[in-house]
């Protein structure tokens, strides 16, 4: 079994998503995670804060950042276990994040050994 990271990217949703929809997404997101966990394939996941985010460059200089564009945000990730990228992508289809127009989920395998 391999591990895949699913990265959630949002587009600017200003005014296009109602708070009721957001509430529903939050519930669906929890159900979605619970569904993956029920198959014993959920590894971990959370949102990524920009707060105190740092970038360290090749000269070991530490700067504040990265600064996710306000209009397109790397908002969170989930790590799942799957036999193939296809299976991981099937999982990705289930997240309500994708109900937002312009939002995407990037699926990448995590090299474990």
């Amino acid at each position: 079994m391999k591990e895949y990271i699913l990265l959630f990217r949002h587009e600017n949703a200003n005014g296009k998503v109602s708070p009721e929809q957001m509430q529903q997404w939050m519930k669906q997101q929890m159900d979605w995670v619970a569904g993956i966990a029920a198959q014993n394939k959920f590894v971990s996941g959370t949102g990524l804060l920009f707060e105190d985010a740092k970038v360290v460059n090749h000269q070991k200089m530490i700067t504040n950042g990265p600064f996710g564009d306000i209009k397109e945000t790397l908002g969170g990730y989930v790590i799942v276990k799957a036999e193939s990228a296809e299976e991981a992508a099937e999982f990705a289809k289930g997240t309500p994040i994708l109900m937002g127009e312009g939002n995407t989920v990037e699926v990448r395998q995590i090299l474990t050994h």
Partner: protein, 413 residues
């Protein structure tokens, strides 16, 4: 996870506060940036809360995330940096950027935002859309639903309004003292339009309708909260809207049909709102002036009084006489004739109605039908048919149709 409606609840209360504070900090030309930041803040909650659960203080969480998003934007956008540096009064370091989410600054920012949006040079349609979007946190879908329009049109209307705000460089500040009364009146006018849109809306959505009424009340409370704008007219309008809101539930059937005053279930009237209406009416009477809102609120007050009260209809008639001197409109005249019929009887009221030139809208024919129906069902049905042909909304057509059928049934008995 806590309640099922935590996000809608937070959105309704916090969106407007955060957008107002940020826009006041940046200047009106950055209103969209402020909206984007707040909107993205809520999206981030969606990424984090499902895994970590609700933060202990969700509001504080939102404020912190929004502040950080401002810092990020400041650091990476040089134009923004140059332009807002002096406004934010910050030194060189982003750590020093201070966005003030104190209770006082929130209320001040919202009130000043309301004045900016309701600036006389903005069209009233745009004012309403901007107020609903920015100060009430309604989405494009909801606004479109309320106005029986579509998202694209509402979007355009909002854009036009924002463009105008920017072009004119309208400041987010309190109006100058010598303009204050006039500016408050303009804001109240827009608020009352929002309220009426909810109260008389043709939208079938019950939720959006009570939402608009509640939003209008909230905006009026905002004006009341500042001692400079706590004026006669503010109290009078609040009183009027409280009295009208108290009948909102009773006014609509489960199927969305209109239920007229006489047929309403008084148990559905909201007692608390009636008490508030009375309180603000008393407050408004402390000024030695009168106004259209004040007279209308007084009429609305008498409508909450039992029909058996001997002074009820004579008082209402008297108030309509005064109202006519301020606002001589067909609607006021027709309502006055209804009060007249309660005092002098239907026959005299029919003479009174016929002596005036009021045949232009369907309310006239509905009123005449109501006055005639006890003497002559046939004529009443004719009047109703004319009203049916003239009225524009389906809810009204249904109501009139029901009345026609009821009279026809009565005729047959």
């Amino acid at each position: 996870m806590a309640e099922n409606d935590i996000i809608p609840h937070l959105f309704r209360t916090e969106y407007s506060k955060m957008v107002s504070v940020l826009t006041k900090s940046f200047g009106i030309e950055y209103v969209e940036l402020a909206e984007d930041i707040v909107s993205e803040t809520f999206m981030l909650a969606l990424d984090v809360w499902p895994f970590k659960g609700l933060p202990t203080n969700p509001t504080a969480w939102l404020y912190t995330v929004a502040k950080n998003k401002v810092k990020n934007h400041y650091l990476r956008n040089n134009t923004f940096k140059k332009k807002v540096r002096h406004i934010l009064e910050m030194g060189m370091l982003p750590e020093e950027i201070s966005i003030d989410f104190s209770e006082k600054n929130i209320v001040d920012s919202q009130l000043q935002m309301l004045f900016a949006i309701c600036h006389p040079s903005i069209s009233v349609e745009s004012q309403i859309c901007l107020a609903l979007r920015i100060l009430c946190g309604l989405g494009l879908d909801e606004i479109a639903d309320a106005f029986l329009s579509n998202k694209e049109n509402i979007h355009k209307r909002l854009q036009r309004g924002k463009k105008k705000l920017k072009q004119l460089g309208i400041k987010i500040e309190m109006p100058a003292e010598n303009d204050l009364n006039e500016r408050v009146d303009a804001v109240l006018h827009t608020i009352y339009l929002v309220f009426s849109e909810g109260y008389y809306s043709e939208s079938n959505s019950r939720i959006i309708r009570s939402e608009l009424c509640a939003d209008a009340l909230n905006m009026a409370y905002l004006i009341l909260s500042n001692s400079n704008t706590n004026l006669h007219s503010t109290n009078a309008l609040l009183s009027l809207m409280c009295f009208q809101s108290s009948r909102l539930e009773a006014r609509m059937s489960d199927h969305g049909d209109i239920i007229l005053y006489d047929d309403q279930d008084r148990n559905l009237w909201d007692k608390e709102l009636i008490e508030k209406g009375f309180y603000f009416l008393q407050q408004a009477s402390k000024w030695d002036i009168t106004s259209q809102y004040y007279i209308e609120a007084s009429i609305a007050y008498w409508h909450t009084v039992e029909s058996t009260h001997p002074d009820k209809w004579t008082s209402i008639l008297l108030l309509y006489d005064v109202l006519l001197t301020i606002n001589n409109s067909p609607v006021v005249s027709l309502n006055r004739i209804w009060a007249y019929s309660k005092v002098h009887g239907a026959l005299q009221a029919i003479d009174e109605a016929e002596s005036q030139d009021l045949k232009t809208n369907h309310f006239y024919f509905m009123l005449m039908a109501e006055l005639c129906r006890h003497f002559d069902e046939g004529i009443a049905i004719q009047y109703l048919s004319k009203a049916y042909a003239l009225c524009k909304t389906n809810a009204e057509k249904d109501l009139i149709q029901l009345k026609i059928v009821a009279l026809q049934t009565k005729q047959m008995v």
